[in-house]
Symmetry: C2
Subunit: 97 residues, 2 copies
Amino acid sequence: MNNIPELEILFELADVFKVFGDSTRLRILYTLFDGERSVGEIAEALGMEHSTISHQLRVLRTNKLVKIRRDGKQIYYSLDDDHVKKIIEMGLDHVLE
Amino acid sequence: MNNIPELEILFELADVFKVFGDSTRLRILYTLFDGERSVGEIAEALGMEHSTISHQLRVLRTNKLVKIRRDGKQIYYSLDDDHVKKIIEMGLDHVLE
DNA sequence: TGAACATATGAATAACTGTTCATATGTTAA
DNA sequence: TTAACATATGAACAGTTATTCATATGTTCA
């Protein structure tokens, strides 16, 4: 696959990687590796403000990396895509040499 | 692999994805998919300033995504790592649904 | 040595991004 | 309806980043 994608696609591709390029979002995604979690659970697990987590979850959701399920007052987030784990593990391989 | 990596590793991981999260750098990497290219060749292929390309090549090199070979006045850049293509293709899979 | 070329670097600027604080929306149970 | 809770949103701020311009380094050939 040596064809260079359309510029439009390249911008989208860069956008996807940008989403992975923040440690808070990576930590959120790792938290979801074990299964769905509510906003409060994630915030507590990471020791961060609910508001921060909520903002970042929106970024993840806009980019279709996570999906939601409402259950009463809570909203449960989970990974939306099989690629998510694979992309992160590829990146980790690179970091670990 | 559900263990969350050390925070230190997570920061490095985020840094790696940040490098992929820019369309200019992605275009440079794609240009190198076919083999090594000089700075001037890359700049011309992308229609951008040599200086811009040089700055971005340094980012790519610092993060060990490309390596160099000097030949006379030119410096030839090439992909340093098999992961590079794989990571990009994984991301592309996600973008293309 | 010098001129011409290829690449790198530093400073400056504009645009973008993550977090916080304050406030709003939406849900449940009384 | 109200109170209490869970989550979302908007504005503001500080920090980061990509590009440009100007200049420097390094290489070749005469």
